[in-house]
């Protein structure tokens, strides 16, 4: 079996019913931040607690990264353009993410999206590095 690791330990958790992004919530004013941080950018207090973000939301904006970024990008040597977007998670935040699709003709602002965890690259020892992404919700 392929070994895996998250690109960052404090970024997401995988539960029985799927992954969730880890965020902070301000006890004083209710503001949510992603990723977690120790102070509130809205009310300036330092009284944050962990929360999980909703898994589903709607596409707020998007682009497609058409060229291989310079360092510190650490993606695969063979570059494939990837989608990037902001997804509005109701009652929480608008989160920036890689998108699973890279065809701009198939992305529309307002589309329903859901969180997935995807392999992003391999370490030298073959360990798969995982990150989060958003994928169009498959209509049932």
């Amino acid at each position: 079996m392929t070994r895996t690791r998250p690109v960052d330990d404090g970024l997401f958790v995988e539960g029985d019913d799927g992954p969730s992004l880890l965020a902070s919530s301000c006890r004083a004013c209710g503001t949510t931040t992603f990723p977690r941080q120790q102070s509130c950018p809205k009310c300036t207090r330092m009284d944050m607690e962990d929360r999980l973000l909703p898994r589903r939301g709607t596409l707020w904006s998007f682009t497609v990264q058409g060229f291989r970024p310079k360092s510190p990008y650490a993606g695969p040597k063979d570059f494939t353009p990837y989608g990037v977007g902001y997804v509005e998670l109701p009652g929480a935040v608008i989160v920036e993410a890689i998108l699973t699709g890279n065809d701009p003709q198939r992305l529309r602002i307002g589309d329903p999206m859901e969180l997935v965890v995807v392999p992003f690259r391999e370490d030298d020892d073959g360990t798969q590095v995982l990150t989060y992404a958003f994928s169009p919700v498959q209509s049932a």
């Binding site: 690109v7 960052d8 970024l11 503001t31 931040t33 992603f34 990723p35 950018p41 809205k42 707020w60 904006s61 998007f62 682009t63 497609v64 990264q65 058409g66 060229f67 970024p69 310079k70 360092s71 510190p72 990008y73 650490a74 993606g75 990837y82 990037v84 977007g85 902001y86 509005e88 009652g91 929480a92 935040v93 608008i94 989160v95 920036e96 993410a97 890689i98 701009p104 602002i109 992003f120 990150t131």
Partner: protein, 380 residues
């Protein structure tokens, strides 16, 4: 104490093999002194900066060791704007009578890369390929065009205007006009933005000599007055470059805040502006920033672009020197290039790209990471 700009100097923008960024800064400084009929020994203070080409205060080795206070300014894309407002304060306070601001830079080819830790972001944000200014511009343009019903083809109109204006500007980098078709069919870098809609990191230098307004005519017959120079950073809820997340509530951008404050301080209305230079890191930015700076309503840009209103002969000429798209973006010099162009326009000395009918009010605006904007209002 009001402030006037009495000398301007520029080193051509572009790529200059074997010429350091510092040398380009020193060249611009000497040109500005010559323009004002002054010597370096007359200058009482200086503010200056570059992002990637060395420390500005080291220019005294070339310009002369006169012992003046020379303060390095480092504020990303707002470096030049920050130097300008610092000099404005130094003279307006009465502390000094005559000083200089200098901005220069020299960047390697290709898109800027950024260090997440330097702006308080986690390493994964850079590693997974989310930390690119180009993506932000793509997503901001995408959202803005969608929200305000502006056609994607307007992006090509903005860029074509930039290359046209650049072709009329002897110190521009890109001086060959491009058609809208050529712009739209160039490589798609960050949908909906193509290669020729973007500016490139480049090289160049600009210097300005500023003095007490009541002494301005000692140095020039055509003084231009600095009515305001303002800097603002982002507020909670604004949509900024390098943001892993945004709040659900929207706030005005720092460009809106800085422009509003600059107009208020100057005592002029956006509608009084005869010529404007706004940050056009790419074509979408010019469209967004025109509205953010109060120069038009959201969504009005399409009509303005289709009727040529933002061209040199139009009712609201924007980026008359070709902007960042035709000049490239040497970060430390970029905001001062805009002021240089506005001074030329107000002097009536912009030759082939002169805005007609004796412009009297000029506005300039920069925006950059991680959410900072600087604006300035000039009058004759």
């Amino acid at each position: 104490m009001d402030v006037a700009i009495v000398g301007i100097g520029i080193h051509p923008f572009g790529r200059h093999e074997g010429v350091s960024g510092r040398a380009q800064g020193a060249y611009a400084a000497r040109a500005a002194l010559k323009d004002a009929g002054l010597e370096w020994a007359d200058i009482q203070f200086a503010f200056g900066g570059s992002h990637a080409a060395g420390t500005a205060d080291s220019l005294v080795s070339e310009l002369g060791l006169t012992g003046i206070p020379f303060i390095n300014v480092s504020n990303g894309c707002a470096t030049g704007g920050s130097a300008l407002l610092s000099a404005d304060n130094a003279i307006r306070s009465g502390a000094y009578e005559l000083g200089m601001v200098i901005g220069f830079d020299k960047h390697p080819r290709g898109a800027f890369n950024a260090d997440p830790a330097a702006v308080g972001l986690p390493a994964w944000y850079g590693e997974t390929g989310l930390m690119l200014t180009t993506q932000f511009f793509g997503m901001k343009a995408q959202r803005y065009l969608h929200t305000h019903g502006i056609s994607t083809s307007m992006l090509a109109k903005v860029a074509a205007k930039a290359y046209h204006n650049g072709s009329l500007n002897p110190h521009a980098w890109r001086r060959v006009p491009l058609t809208e078709e050529e712009i739209l069919s160039s490589a798609m870098l960050s949908h909906p933005l193509t290669q020729y809609m973007f500016c490139s990191p480049g090289e160049g230098g600009v210097a300005l000599v500023l003095c007490r307004a009541d002494r301005a005519r000692r140095y020039t017959d055509t003084p231009v007055y600095l009515r305001s120079a303002v800097l603002r950073t982002r507020r909670f809820g604004s949509f900024e470059v390098f943001s892993p997340w945004l709040a659900l509530e929207r706030a005005d951008s720092p460009s809106v805040d800085a422009a509003r404050a600059a107009f208020e301080l100057a005592g002029v209305a956006p509608g009084d502006v005869d010529v404007a230079q706004v940050q056009d890191t790419e074509a979408g930015a010019e469209i967004c920033h025109m509205a953010e700076c109060g120069l038009c309503e959201d969504g009005e840009q399409e009509k303005l672009l289709r009727t040529g209103a933002t061209g040199i002969g139009g009712s609201l000429p924007v980026n008359t020197d070709g902007g960042c798209i035709a000049n490239g973006e040497p970060i430390g010099a970029s905001a001062l290039r805009q002021v240089y162009e506005n001074v030329l326009q107000l002097r009536g000395a912009a030759a082939g790209r002169q805005v007609p009918a004796d412009p009297t009010v000029a506005f300039s605006h920069v925006y950059g990471a991680p959410g900072v904007s600087a604006c300035a209002v000039l009058t004759r």
